[in-house]
C-alpha cells in the first residue's frame, strides 16, 4: 500500500552532529506505526522535519503522494497530519475547554465559541476521559491529564494521520492502557498513527509496524515480534 507518510534520503544536521542521516522510510497508512530507538537516535528530529517544525537539509517528505518537504507547520496540519509533543504543550492559564477551542480559532477567538465547536470539544474531552475537568485551568492538571488534553487538542483539528511523541512518558500504567485503547479506537475509525515510544509493552501490544532508528537512520523494520528479536535492535536499544 502506498500513499502514506514517507521520507526519501531525509537528512538534518546540527553543527557537526548528523541527527537524521539520509533516512528513507515508509509508514503504513491505516495502521499504528511505531518509531523506536535509543535516546539521541533522531526520532524527535524526524518528527520535527516531517511536521515542518524544522527544515531538513536535504531529502524529501511525501504524504499521500504529495511532496510536503519544507512546508510550514500549519500547512502540514491542514494536509491532515497532527502531532503531540514529548513535553506537553498546553496553555497553562487557559481552561481545558479553551485549550481545545484555540485549535479551531483560525477565524478569530469568537468564531470557535459557537455551539457546534464547543460540543465537538466536549465530545473529545469525554472521549479522552477528562470532561469533568472542562473548567479547570490546564496548569492544575496532572502530567497524565495534560497528555490527554494535548491529544484531545490534536484531535480537534481532525487529522487523518497522528504523530504522538512519547504518549506514555511520565504516565501511570492504568492511563497508558486508556491511551492505548483510545489509539486502537481511533485507528479502527480510519486514522493512521505514528508513535515514538520507549514503553515496549505499549509498542508491542499496540503497533502493527515498527521502525527502529539508530544514529539517524532505520536499522530494522517490520512487525513488532520480528523487530523485538532482531539482534541489531537488542544491541542498540533494548540492551539485553
Amino acid at each position: 500500500m502506498t500513499g502514506g507518510l514517507e521520507t526519501v534520503e531525509l537528512t538534518k544536521s546540527f553543527g557537526g552532529v548528523t541527527a537524521i542521516d539520509a533516512a528513507t522510510v515508509a509508514f503504513q497508512p491505516g495502521k499504528v506505526n511505531a518509531l523506536i530507538g535509543p535516546n539521541g537516535s533522531g526520532k524527535t528530529t524526524f518528527f520535527n522535519c516531517v511536521t515542518g517544525m524544522i527544515r531538513p537539509d536535504s531529502g524529501r517528505v511525501r504524504y499521500r503522494d504529495h511532496d510536503i518537504t519544507g512546508r510550514a507547520p500549519h500547512r502540514i496540519a491542514r494536509a491532515g497530519i497532527g502531532r503531540s509533543f514529548q513535553l506537553c504543550r498546553v496553555f497553562p492559564r487557559m481552561t481545558v475547554l479553551d485549550n481545545l477551542l484555540v485549535a479551531v480559532r483560525a477565524g478569530g477567538l469568537r468564531s470557535s465559541r459557537n455551539r457546534a465547536e464547543m460540543e465537538r470539544a466536549r465530545g473529545w474531552l469525554t472521549r479522552v476521559g477528562i470532561d469533568h475537568l472542562e473548567h479547570a485551568e490546564a496548569r492544575n492538571l496532572s502530567w497524565g491529564q495534560q497528555k490527554l488534553l494535548e491529544l484531545a487538542g490534536v484531535l480537534m483539528a481532525d487529522p487523518e494521520t497522528i504523530l504522538l511523541d512519547e504518549p506514555a512518558g511520565g504516565v501511570n500504567p492504568a492511563l497508558i492502557d486508556r491511551i492505548g485503547a483510545l489509539v486502537r479506537e481511533l485507528n479502527a475509525e480510519g486514522r493512521t498513527f505514528l508513535i515514538v515510544e520507549h514503553n515496549m509493552d505499549m509498542v508491542m501490544s499496540l503497533c502493527d509496524h515498527v521502525v527502529v532508528f539508530d544514529r539517524g537512520r532505520p536499522i530494522a523494520q517490520g512487525p513488532p515480534a520480528a523487530v523485538k528479536s532482531d539482534p541489531r535492535v537488542l544491541e542498540a536499544y533494548l540492551g539485553v
Binding site: V17, G37, P38, N39, G40, Q86, L87, N140, L141, S142, W143, G144, Q145, E166, G169, G170, V171, N172, P173, A174, L175, I176, D177, R178, H198, M200, D201, Y237, L238, G239
Partner: protein, 251 residues
C-alpha cells in the same frame, strides 16, 4: 530521641493556590540506607510530596523532620543545608555548561576546597561517565548521561536523602536500566532515596519500601517485593486493567 528515619513527613496537607488539596494528611518515612518509592496514578500527588519535602511548596499542615530535626516551613536552600537534595523531573542540566561546571554548581555552598575535591572524586567514582565526560558540554551528552550528571550534582553536598522525580522519564530501555542501577549505587554509597516513578514495576523492583499513593494519601505501604507480588496492586497500578472498585484504605 533520635529516630530511625532520615526523612519523615507527618500528616502533610498541601495544594496549589486556591485549588483543592493535593496531599491530604500524607505520612511517609524514609529510613537510612533505603530506597523508598512512591507509585500511584497521575494526579495522586507523588511529585507534590517531593516539592513539599524540598521546600518548593509549603505545606498547609503537617510536619517535616530530617534526621529528627523539625524543618517544616524552611526554604529550599535551608532544606538543602538540612540534607535534602531534589533531582527534578525531566532534564535540568545546563546544556551550554560543561559537566564539570554543572557538577561543581551542586557544591556551590561548600567553602572548603578540600571538601569539594573529595566530593568530586566521590561522584566521579560513583558515576564513571561523569569523570569520563568531565570537560564535555552537558548538552552533548545522551539523556541517560545527563541524568547521571544531575545525580552527581545532587550528591555534592553529601545529602542525607535524595529526592528523585521520574528519573526514567523519556529514557530508552537500555538507559533506564543503567539509571536504576545508579540509583541503587547511590543507596549503597550511603544516601537514602525517595523515588517517584511512573514506571511502577521497575521502581518497586529497585526499591526497598513502596508506598502507593492515591488521592493525596498513602493507601498501602510495605516491603517493595511484597507490593510487587500483590495481585490487586498489580491490576490497579502496574499495567493491568484498571479495576472498577478503588483500592481499600484498610489494606
Amino acid at each position: 530521641m533520635a529516630s530511625d528515619y532520615l526523612l519523615e513527613l507527618h500528616g502533610i496537607e498541601a495544594g496549589y493556590g486556591r485549588a483543592a488539596l493535593v496531599l491530604r494528611g500524607l505520612t511517609v518515612r524514609v529510613p537510612a540506607g533505603t530506597i523508598v518509592c512512591l507509585v500511584g496514578p497521575n494526579g495522586a500527588g507523588k511529585s507534590t510530596v517531593l516539592k513539599v519535602a524540598s521546600g518548593l511548596l509549603a505545606p498547609r499542615a503537617g510536619r517535616i523532620l530530617v534526621d529528627s530535626t523539625d524543618v517544616t516551613g524552611q526554604r529550599p536552600q535551608q532544606m538543602l543545608a538540612s540534607g535534602l537534595a531534589h533531582v527534578l523531573q525531566g532534564h535540568s542540566v545546563f546544556r551550554e555548561m560543561t559537566v564539570a561546571e554543572n557538577v561543581l554548581l551542586g557544591g556551590y555552598t561548600l567553602r572548603d576546597k578540600a571538601v569539594v575535591a573529595e566530593r568530586v572524586a566521590f561522584v566521579q567514582e560513583l558515576f564513571p561517565v561523569v569523570g569520563e565526560r568531565w570537560k564535555s558540554l552537558a548538552g552533548l551528552l545522551s539523556g541517560g548521561q545527563q541524568k547521571q550528571v544531575e545525580f552527581a550534582r545532587s550528591l555534592m553536598v553529601r545529602p542525607k536523602v535524595v529526592l528523585l522525580d521520574e528519573p526514567s522519564m523519556g529514557l530508552d530501555p537500555k538507559t533506564t536500566s543503567t539509571v536504576f542501577e545508579q540509583v541503587v549505587r547511590m543507596r549503597d554509597a550511603g544516601t537514602a532515596v525517595l523515588l517517584v516513578e511512573q514506571n511502577a514495576r521497575r521502581a518497586l523492583e529497585t526499591a526497598d519500601i513502596g508506598c502507593v499513593l492515591d488521592l493525596g494519601t498513602v493507601h498501602m505501604s510495605g516491603p517493595a517485593a511484597e507490593l510487587l507480588a500483590d495481585p490487586l496492586l498489580s491490576e490497579l497500578y502496574l499495567g493491568g486493567r484498571p479495576a472498577e472498585r478503588p483500592i481499600s484504605p484498610e489494606r
